[in-house]
């Protein structure tokens, strides 16, 4: 018979992985619920998730490409901006989902118990569905460019793309856990978040190539941003252009794991009694 012991001050470092596994059905239903509910509510349904990055890409192409004439390393503007946007959207989506998961689900969390990590974790999968949808559109455009003989070619690194996608998800989750733990204490952080994320995007080589940043200190700062490596390497894999730095990739993974593990611990500590303060 299952035995549960409830004790004060359960250790923050004990992440209930087994329990999460037992609740995997809930996780999957949660993902499905979110997707169906979202798609049913909007008139154009899933189309919205395709239109949004396309519009962003068009805006970037016009402003940064045509008007500001920022270099894209010889990569077609559309491909350059859209690849970055898709990855960034995934990161941002997971981050936002994680960040608001505790505060926006209080009505459920104060009524029933299940491993709290399910909430931010579901964001990784929900956003992945949007990413997959966008990737299909992107690949269509990509192959059109390839077919018309644009000066770019994929290389062996394309097999590394799934790893980059995974990294993006984990990174978004890690930061999301951090923010959600912090928003329990400080509600107004939620309002600052979109702005901070926006700034962060400009600190990532999405509308400009990493190559443009040459000052050693700035370059370090740029590559310390874990999303830099993700964007640069994914672009390099698809076009064989850009300036992928292997040390930067290592650094990026280091930061990712650090953020993720510390985020998990922090979240695990906060979730024990967070319902007392909301």
């Amino acid at each position: 018979m299952q035995k549960t012991v409830i004790r004060a001050n359960s250790p923050w470092w004990r992440i209930p992985f087994r329990e999460i596994w037992e609740y995997r059905d809930l996780l999957m239903l949660w993902v499905r619920r979110d997707l169906t509910a979202v798609y049913r509510q909007t008139i154009i349904g899933p189309l919205w998730f395709v239109i949004q990055p396309l519009l962003t890409t068009i805006v970037f192409t016009v402003i940064f490409g045509a008007v500001a004439k920022i270099s894209t390393d010889g990569i077609p503007h559309f491909i350059f901006y859209m690849s970055g946007t898709i990855f960034w959207n995934y990161f941002q989506g997971v981050l936002n989902h994680g960040a608001t998961s505790l505060v926006s689900n209080t009505n459920i969390l104060t009524k029933v118990y299940f491993p709290r990590l399910i909430m931010p974790l579901s964001g990784v999968f929900i956003q992945f569905a949007h990413l997959a949808l966008n990737s299909v559109v992107f690949l269509g455009i990509y192959f059109w460019f390839l077919y018309h003989g644009t000066a770019m070619e994929p290389n062996r690194w394309v097999f590394f793309l799934p790893v980059l996608i995974l990294q993006t998800g984990l990174l978004g989750l890690g930061f999301g856990l951090w923010v959600s733990a912090a928003t329990i204490k400080y509600r107004d952080l939620r309002f600052a978040l979109p702005f901070l994320v926006q700034l962060w995007m400009y600190g990532t080589p999405i509308v400009y190539p990493a190559k443009l940043v040459v000052k050693p200190l700035l370059k370090w700062a740029l590559w310390l941003n874990p999303m830099t490596a993700v964007v640069e390497f994914s672009r390099y894999a698809l076009t064989s252009r850009g300036s992928p730095e292997l040390w930067g990739l290592g650094l990026s993974w280091g930061v990712t794991l650090l953020v993720l593990v510390s985020g998990l611990f922090l979240f695990n500590k906060v979730q024990r009694t967070f319902v007392d303060t909301i």
Binding site: M1, Q2, K3, T4, V5, I6, R7, A8, N9, S10, Y23, D25, L26, M28, L29, W30, R33, T36, A37, R40, Q41, N107, I108, L109, T110, K111, V112, Y113, F114, K185, Y186, R187, D188, L189, R272, T273, V275, D276, T277, I278
Partner: protein, 436 residues
């Protein structure tokens, strides 16, 4: 004897009060700014208390303490298959206890051991999404409550039948009536198969018929050998379902015992506070002072003093009096029971209802017994007066006050449900005659 299904040892839960009101970075800055200037930072915050504001919490805050114990050293065991009731007034710690037991929040100290799968039902319909259909929500809700997807699939037909919503199972729940919503939600929880079921006052929702269906379902569950922890204000439901009960008072476990003893002890906690002026000392009274009522008590059938009566039980109002003369003049007593809005409910007038003549000595006690109390739950006030001969001897408006709680007035085991107004219950019966 087998091991207890639930064993609770010295369970305590503390809420910190110093953190109140600081929910934003701006609040935090304000707090430290006040502290820096040597002021009491709490003055900067008008809002005291948490979302579920309890008087005790606010009182503790106002008294200047920095913490508040919602539970303090609570210990008791529940045997497998037992149905145990948790009773206590608002703020006694019932909800906190349930929250800790269902792992929604962590205790500050102490330990709980639970043997078996736990299902908690603190509110029906947790996690229902309006856009999704009934079927999708059943799956969602079932897995939130800890079931596997295929278990829900296996039980789906049974759940839908219990909720009586077969036709609407593929309709989004936003189109459901509130009754359908509640029925479906309870059905999911009731068909979950936990070894330990923690139930908060969910029975208070829905119509009487559905309530008795729910009570029946809970009785079935307990017959299957599962343990139920049931929290309610409804003494009648507690008495009909539970074998034992725990009385919480101010976060502490005041009593664990048979339902009878515990509910009586609970009703006694409704006794008027000492802050009330004893009626003998009140000066706002009428009459010539020939008679003076000095004290009153409300007693139950077993002559135990209570502060709250149950609908349908026999109660006695005892009034102590002093009389200046011991003459033989016939006296008449008048008690008018009114609700909180001071609308008259009924009248007890001895000149009509007492067959003989009442005479009162120098001092003594008047006993008014009302068998089968016909009042709905609520607070009631008695306007009392006494005449000696034809002269008004004493009169007190709101001389006696008492609470009535839910009880099984009709003897059917069915309950009335939440949200009624005070009022009168009348014994009656139904029948259908004729027809095909």
């Amino acid at each position: 004897m087998s091991e207890p299904a639930i064993s609770i040892r010295n369970l305590s839960k503390r809420y910190r009060l110093g953190t109140i009101g600081r929910q934003t970075l701006i609040d935090e800055t304000k707090y430290w700014w006040h502290k820096l200037r040597g002021r009491d930072p709490r003055q900067a915050f008008e809002k005291i208390g948490y979302s579920a504001t309890e008087r005790r919490r606010v009182e503790a805050e106002q008294a200047g303490s920095h913490e508040f114990w919602a539970l303090r050293d609570v210990s008791f065991d529940v045997q497998p298959g037992e149905v145990i009731g948790i009773i206590g007034r608002n703020g006694a710690g019932k909800s906190t206890l349930l929250k800790v037991l269902s792992r929604i929040t962590e205790p500050t100290a102490g330990e709980v051991e639970l043997r078996g799968r736990i299902g908690s039902l603190l509110e029906v319909g947790t996690g229902f999404h309006p856009e999704l259909t009934g079927r999708e929500n059943v799956f969602m809700n079932g897995t939130i409550l800890g079931m596997k997807e295929r278990e829900v699939a296996r039980k789906l037909d049974e759940i839908v039948a219990f909720a009586e919503i077969e036709k609407f199972i593929d309709t989004p729940v936003k189109r459901y009536s509130s009754g359908m919503y509640v029925r479906l939600a309870f059905a999911v929880a009731a068909h979950l198969e936990p070894e330990i079921l923690i139930v908060d006052e969910v029975l208070a929702v829905g119509d009487a018929e559905f309530q008795s269906k729910c009570l029946g379902r809970m009785a079935d569950v307990s017959k299957e050998g599962r343990t139920i922890l049931f929290v309610s204000h409804n003494m009648a439901a507690i008495q009909s379902l539970c074998s034992r009960a725990v009385l919480l008072q101010g976060g502490q476990c005041a009593m664990v015992g048979s339902v009878q003893e515990t509910t009586e002890a609970y009703l006694r906690t409704h006794l008027p506070k000492a802050a009330h002026l004893p009626i003998g000392e009140r000066t706002d009274r009428g009459g010539d002072g020939q008679v003076r009522f000095t004290a009153y008590r409300i007693l139950n059938e077993r002559n135990l003093e209570i502060g709250a009566a149950q609908s349908g039980e026999t109660i006695t109002i005892e009034l102590d009096f002093e009389k200046k003369t011991s003459g033989d003049a016939p006296c008449s007593l008048y008690m008018q029971v009114a609700n909180e809005k001071r609308q008259r409910m009924f009248l007890c007038f001895s000149r009509i209802s007492h067959p003989g003549v009442l005479r009162m000595g120098h001092r003594g006690t008047v006993r008014l017994t009302i068998p089968h109390l016909p009042l709905l739950p609520g607070r009631y006030f008695v306007h009392l007066s006494c005449k000696v001969g034809k002269a008004l001897a004493d009169e007190l408006i709101d001389g006696v006050e008492f609470d009535v709680v839910e009880g099984d007035f009709f003897g059917t085991g069915k309950l009335r449900g939440r949200g009624g107004e005070s009022g009168i219950l009348v014994a009656h019966h139904w029948e259908v005659v004729g027809g095909e």
